[in-house]
């Protein structure tokens, strides 16, 4: 499970949803140790990706030409 790669284009909300369900599962605390470690790793990777996504913006403000000017 932890080896599953997070798709490069996975939307933020999907990552958050999965992270949320992992945290809930971990908090349930009933899984075997190996599974909990796998869950933790997957959760940490998801959280890391979320952070990367949030911080991948550079605040660029681009103005493209008025359509008339393009033709």
């Amino acid at each position: 499970m932890s080896k599953e790669i997070i798709p490069q284009d996975a939307p933020f909300e999907a990552l958050m949803e999965e992270l949320e369900s992992i945290v809930q599962k971990l908090e349930g605390g009933n899984s075997p140790l190996e599974e909990m470690v796998a869950l933790y790793e997957r959760g940490a990777a998801l959280g890391k990706r979320c952070m990367e996504l949030l911080d991948s913006y550079e605040g660029r403000l681009t103005t493209i030409n008025r359509p008339e000017d393009q033709e």
């Binding site: 909300e13 992270l19 945290v23 790793e41 959280g47 890391k48 952070m51 605040g59 030409n65």
Partner: protein, 422 residues
């Protein structure tokens, strides 16, 4: 034959009923100039309509008055829809207004209705076609006037909510000749730009004529055909254009469109941090804690030899986990990793396996009771030496009580293994 005598009420009700039965008076459209306009605190509007020769008393009840999309003023030329009847209390003939438009907009409004019917039939407004607005856009595209207040409002809200959001603006004409074509080209240009995941299309408030470009089929078609979800923000709350009907989401104002397009960065960051850094780690720590207690319980409850073996196994698993933790620990999220490591160190310290690994042995008698010092030993007594990988049976050959007992105690304290001799 005697003349029948009526009460005033009876007469007024009779006339009122006559008027109510008239098909023409039931659905009227009257043109005139506003005069004596008053808006009552109840929300009802009272006014007169007049022309050069006559005056007509009118009332517009609150529910209808709310649909009027301009501020009526005395002297304004308007067209009013409604029905006419007698107000039986004072015998006054009056018009009950149900809709009001500025004169001249009536024609525009008719065109609006016509276009609306046509585009609706083409499936433009189908709710099933509406796409969800992405939760976190890659880039926000804005199609509006480059000089209007709407653009400033939109940018300000985006910067406030998500300071580093990428924004691509295509400035266009939003009213007058060529505006509809301009809006359409702007929408297509942003569709082709790449990486734009949501569009805001709109302008600030104005008269129906000012907003007309957003009703023209050319502009509406571009909204309809946009591959990128569109949030429309044309005018104010009460202005509705066909672009609004066609867009995936309609915002009451340009500022509101920006709010809908972009999430709040701080709130998202906090949510991720709470989930990934706090709750995730805490849940894991708690489960490790439970396992540490289980190791301790094993040592107390069962035969020591089996317990030591289990503890060693458990410890191996935990060690494996520490390794994995460290492997995945390069993430900035693991700021609290040291906390987890501390916990694992303490857990290791409790585990007899860790002690055995350092080359020590635990000595028990034949029944598994731990021997703390030589006073419990006799020559020839069978003992068991528990090593890190198993146990050896042995026999005591000689007993020499050389070390003062308190030295052994210090030793135990240093290793945080009270009750277990080494």
């Amino acid at each position: 034959m005697q003349q029948r005598i009526l009460t005033v009420t009876q007469l007024n009700e009779y006339v009122g009923n006559l008027l109510n039965g008239d098909p023409i008076l039931r659905a009227l459209r009257v043109q005139g100039e506003l005069s004596g306009f008053k808006r009552h605190s109840s929300g009802h509007m009272y006014f007169q309509l007049k022309d050069e020769n006559a005056v007509l008393r009118c009332v517009m009840f609150r529910s209808a008055a709310q649909t009027v999309r301009f501020q009526p003023q005395d002297g304004m030329k308007v067209v009013v829809d409604g029905y006419a009847s007698l107000y039986t209390k004072d015998g006054q003939f009056q018009l009950y207004a149900q809709a009001m438009q500025k004169d001249g907009e009536g024609e525009l409004y008719q065109r609006f209705l016509l276009l609306k019917t046509k585009l609706e039939a083409m499936g433009y407004f189908d709710p099933a076609r509406k796409r969800p607005i992405p939760f976190l856009p890659r880039k926000v595209g804005v199609v509006t006037s480059g000089t209007g207040a709407a653009l400033q409002d939109i940018l300000q809200i985006i910067r406030r909510r998500f300071p580093n959001m990428e924004v691509v603006i295509c400035p266009v004409l939003v009213q007058g000749a060529g505006a509809a074509a301009d809006i359409a080209k702007g929408i297509r240009a942003l569709n082709d730009y790449g990486g734009v995941s949501v569009l805001i299309v709109g302008r600030g408030g104005g008269s129906m004529e000012d907003l007309w470009a957003f009703n023209e089929p050319e502009a509406v078609k571009a909204v309809f055909e946009s591959r990128i979800p569109v949030i429309s923000a044309v005018g104010h709350e009460t202005d509705i254009t066909l672009s609004d009907f066609t867009a995936d989401l309609r915002a009451p104002t340009p500022s509101a469109a920006a709010e809908l397009a972009v999430p709040a960065y701080d709130a998202l960051l906090q949510r991720v941090d709470e989930l990934a850094s706090e709750r995730l780690l805490r849940a894991l720590e708690r489960s490790l804690m439970v396992r540490r207690e289980r190791v301790t319980l094993l040592l107390r409850a069962r035969g020591f030899s089996a317990a030591a073996h289990r503890a060693a196994l458990e410890r191996k698993r935990l060690e494996h986990f520490v390794k994995k933790l460290e492997d995945s620990g390069r993430s900035a999220l693991l700021r609290r990793r040291t906390g987890a490591e501390d916990l694992l160190h303490r857990l290791n310290a409790l585990s007899p396996g860790a002690v055995l690994d350092r080359g020590y042995a635990i000595v028990t008698d034949g029944e598994g009771r731990i021997l703390h010092n030589t006073s419990a030993m006799d020559v020839g007594m069978p003992v068991v030496l528990h090593m890190n990988d198993g146990a050896a049976a042995a026999r005591v050959e000689r007993v020499t009580a050389a070390n003062p007992p308190q030295k052994g105690e210090q030793h135990e304290q240093r290793n945080h293994t009270p009750g277990r001799a080494v």
